[in-house]
């Protein structure tokens, strides 16, 4: 298995270089000049623009800029923001912990509630509870997250007065609860549907009949034999979902004023801060890669027939 993991890790290198190069080129191709943007609508100063570009190496050809970026990256240097003159590493270090907390919250919520709902409705397929869950999940899938966000804000902050409408302190788990639930809502619906289908199908499988015939207690049949085998598609989904939760929270972060990765990358993109965008996107790519590796390893845990040698 060690060899398998090593091989997978080695495969990440070309993916990593390829994705950074792609994003780097995309940022380069976007119209608008980040240095000229420093002057807003006012008179740009050509002498100064040249000086700033020269200092940041933005006057070099694209390949040279990329080379400088990559070599800097391997020395732990993410570059410097053009307007704020802050190291990009600082900006990332500030945004990532917030997002990781939010994502973990959302993720745990998705897994616990989603799998539970899916399991129960799978066990009682086509009964009343299943129908209710179906309607509920359809609702979650079809309602856009900003509607849900404002709705929750209205309900819990203004009508019930339980929480402040926005996050005041992103280290307070109680305050992150609301944005986390909104963020998790869509994935929750998918996880529920996936689990439900998988459970309902596996319920009719031979090995379940065997387990029941062996006289195993119901708890063991459902908890170990049924659930473990039913989780494979769910785990696949969750693995890719982690990246989506991290990067795709722009709307939710905006509504609840959480200063996480989504907002940071959005602002950087608007200001054409290439190094910031590439830096964050690269980290998210890495998160995706690691998550998918974990998913593949988890397959073996869930299904003993799968081996990596």
């Amino acid at each position: 298995m060690g060899r398998y993991v090593a091989r997978r890790l080695l495969q990440m290198i070309p993916v990593f270089i390829g994705s950074t190069l792609l994003i780097f080129c995309m940022m380069y191709a976007l119209p608008g000049d980040p240095v000229a943007a420093l002057y807003g609508e006012k008179k740009p100063d050509p002498a100064q623009i040249l000086a700033i570009k020269h200092q940041l190496g933005l006057d070099l050809p694209l390949w040279h800029q990329y080379w400088n970026y990559l070599t800097g990256l391997f020395q732990g240097d993410f570059g410097t923001q053009i307007a704020t003159q802050r190291p990009v590493a600082d900006v990332i270090a500030q945004a990532f912990p917030v997002t990781i907390r939010l994502t973990l919250f959302a993720f745990v919520f998705t897994v616990v509630v989603g799998v539970l709902l899916g399991l129960v409705s799978g066990l009682f397929a086509d009964k009343a509870f299943d129908r209710i869950v179906l309607v509920f999940t359809l609702l979650l899938i079809s309602v856009p997250s900003f509607v849900l966000g404002y709705l929750f804000q209205y309900l819990f902050a203004f009508q019930l007065d339980w929480l402040t409408p926005t996050v005041q302190d992103s280290r307070d788990p109680g305050q992150l609860l609301l944005p986390a639930i909104v963020l998790a809502a869509l994935s929750l619906a998918y996880v529920t549907r996936l689990t439900r289908t998988s459970v309902a199908e596996n319920l009719r499988a031979d090995y379940i009949r065997t387990a029941v015939a062996k006289g195993l207690p119901r708890r063991r049949v459902v908890g170990v034999h049924l659930l473990r085998n039913s989780l494979i598609p769910v785990v696949t989904f969750l693995g890719t979902d982690i990246g989506a939760l991290m990067a795709g929270a722009v709307v939710t972060e905006g509504i609840f004023n959480v200063h996480g990765v989504g907002n940071t990358i959005f602002e950087a993109l608007n200001r054409r801060e290439g190094s910031t965008v590439v830096g964050i996107a690269t980290l998210i790519v890495i998160v995706y890669l690691v998550a998918s590796l974990l998913v593949d390893l988890l397959y073996a845990v869930l299904d003993p027939r799968i081996r990596y040698d």
């Binding site: 100064q48 973990l104 409408p165 974990l294 390893l297 845990v301």
Partner: protein
């Protein structure tokens, strides 16, 4: 089965590692205290785009903080008049050499005195091309600017020859040519003094500035808040009436609005489109719309197919085809005031123009366009940036034009402001573009010279007219400020005949504030005068 077991452990370890990074990172988030000290005012703001230096701040979020921390030589009153701040007097006989006398006893927040040297040295540093300050061009009137800021290459000198320290509290500014309204420019935020401590570590200063203004810098937690504290011994006329300000960082207006509504935030100086219709219901008389010196217009580009060699009458016709009153009331929810000229009423030199070009008159509009020879292709475009909430009114203006005159009008949306600006700079606008202009200093000159003078850097319409240029030139060489203002007033009347732009409406600051504060006033630039806010 053994393989599966080890795998279980490795996955577990990975999960633990992930969780650990999450916990370990929590220290980077800064202060946990979200409460504000008693007597402070919390207000909506965003992350400043630049380090906090007067010479490098040209956007609103940083501008608020700079204005709180620094006080320059002069300021402006509510009608666009000049008032002396740190200066006891600013005098000139020939508009070329200006003598500045400073008030005595002013101190920086680190305890050192504000002297003539604090100004002269700071300005020399700010203007120097090597220091790459975004506002350096403000010094280009001063004699010797070219030496410290050549168009190409290294600066020849470290000091501008036009700045001379006479004594501790007097210095003179010599300009390369007379500028009758130079004192107005001195009110811009880059003309501030810097303390001696600045030169030791300019970079660190940008994160922890020391000023001479009504507030002292307390802390900057990136992405969260900037806090400043009122200075008790401050000698200026704009002494703070509250104990301090918390500039809180919001990524959008909507979430700030919610916070203001629930009492977590004292003041928001902007309202998102979602909340505009209900702001009066939510806040009552605590929802204010205060007009300020900013205008929005649509600008024809004179190299484009529809407007090449156009008869100004056609543009006048288009202007009369726009129902400003209805659009500001309905689409813009009363947040704008229909324009009555090329300058807004809050600036010195505003005049009532006796004209019907800016009022809605579909019949006359049609007639004017016909008389002017019509528009080639009978179609115009209005370019705008889609990220600024302009789509609604551009569509409304287009509908109004089409309905009144039969000229096809379509919005030409660019994804963001950057793209929009680039198209303007590279002469790639198809017909018209959305122009917005906020006053740098409240004088009518500021609303004309940079926009409509031949070859001016922000004259993206590439408008060029001999008579207008002559009048501008005359105003720039007038013997006094008043004479200069008058010449520019004449120029404005001329502009109305030539129509380098179609003025649409003036801005108003849309403010909502909580019950705990009072005395919310707005300056000419649309910024809330934070020193005037009182806390109940």
């Amino acid at each position: 089965m053994r393989g599966a077991k080890t795998m279980k452990w490795s996955t577990l370890a990975a999960a633990v590692a992930l969780a650990a990074t999450a916990c370990g990172g929590s220290g980077g988030d800064g202060d946990s205290a979200s409460g504000k000290p008693a007597g402070y005012v919390s207000m909506f703001n965003g992350e400043p785009q630049h380090p906090l230096l007067p010479s490098n701040t040209n956007e609103k979020f940083g501008g608020y903080v700079i204005d709180a921390l620094f006080t320059g030589l002069v300021g402006y009153d509510a009608k666009g008049g000049l008032i002396d701040m740190n200066a006891a007097s600013v005098d000139t006989k020939d508009n070329k050499t200006w003598t500045v006398k400073l008030r005595k006893g002013w101190k920086f927040h680190d305890g050192t005195d504000v002297t003539a040297e604090s100004y002269v040295k700071a300005w020399n540093w700010m203007a120097n091309v090597k220091n790459k300050q975004a506002n350096s061009y403000w010094f280009d009137d001063i004699e010797g600017y070219k030496d410290v800021h050549p168009e190409k290459g290294e600066p020849k000198k470290d000091e501008m020859s036009g700045l001379k320290v006479v004594d501790d509290h007097t210095f003179t500014i010599e300009l390369s040519k007379p500028v009758p309204y130079f004192e107005y420019k001195l009110g811009y935020k880059t003309f501030t003094p810097l303390p001696e401590s600045f030169y030791k570590d300019p970079k660190g200063f940008g994160q922890k500035p020391v000023g001479n203004g009504p507030y002292r810098f307390q802390k900057w937690t990136h992405n969260k808040l900037i806090q400043v504290e009122a200075v008790s011994g401050y000698k200026g006329s704009n002494k703070a009436k509250n104990k301090g300000i918390q500039f809180k960082n919001y990524s959008n207006l909507e979430s700030a609005y919610q916070d203001a509504l629930s009492g977590n935030l004292d003041l928001v100086d902007g309202v998102g489109p979602k909340d505009l219709p209900k702001r009066k219901a939510d806040f009552g008389d605590r929802a204010l719309d205060v007009p300020y010196a900013g205008t929005q217009s649509i600008v024809p580009v004179f190299y484009s197919k529809p407007f090449k060699d156009v008869d100004p009458k056609v543009i006048q016709g288009l202007s009369m085809a726009i129902d400003r009153k209805t659009i500001t009331k309905t689409v813009l929810q009363g947040t704008r005031i229909p324009s009555k000229g090329f300058t807004p009423p809050q600036v010195k030199g505003y005049q009532k123009l006796d004209t019907d070009v800016l009022s809605y008159n579909p019949k006359k509009a049609k007639q004017y366009i016909k008389e002017g020879g019509g528009i080639p292709g009978n179609k115009i475009w209005i370019q705008y940036n889609a990220d600024g909430g302009h789509k609604e009114w551009v569509t409304a203006v287009c509908n109004s034009i089409t309905k009144a005159t039969g000229v096809t009008c379509v919005g030409d949306s660019k994804p963001d402001f950057q793209t929009d600006l680039q198209a303007r700079q590279n002469n790639k606008v198809k017909g018209m573009y959305r122009g917005g202009w906020l006053a740098d200093y409240p004088l009518n000159v500021n609303f004309m010279q940079d926009l409509y003078k031949t070859g001016a850097s922000t004259n993206y319409g590439r408008f060029s007219d001999k008579k207008v240029d002559e009048l501008f030139e005359k105003g720039d060489h007038a013997g006094s400020l008043d004479a200069s203002v008058k010449d520019y007033q004449k120029a404005e009347k001329e502009l109305l005949k030539k129509m380098p732009a179609i003025p649409l409406w003036d801005y108003a600051a849309n403010i909502v504030h909580g019950e705990d504060i009072d005395g919310v006033k707005v300056g000419f630039d649309g910024n809330v005068l934070v020193t005037d806010i009182t806390v109940k």
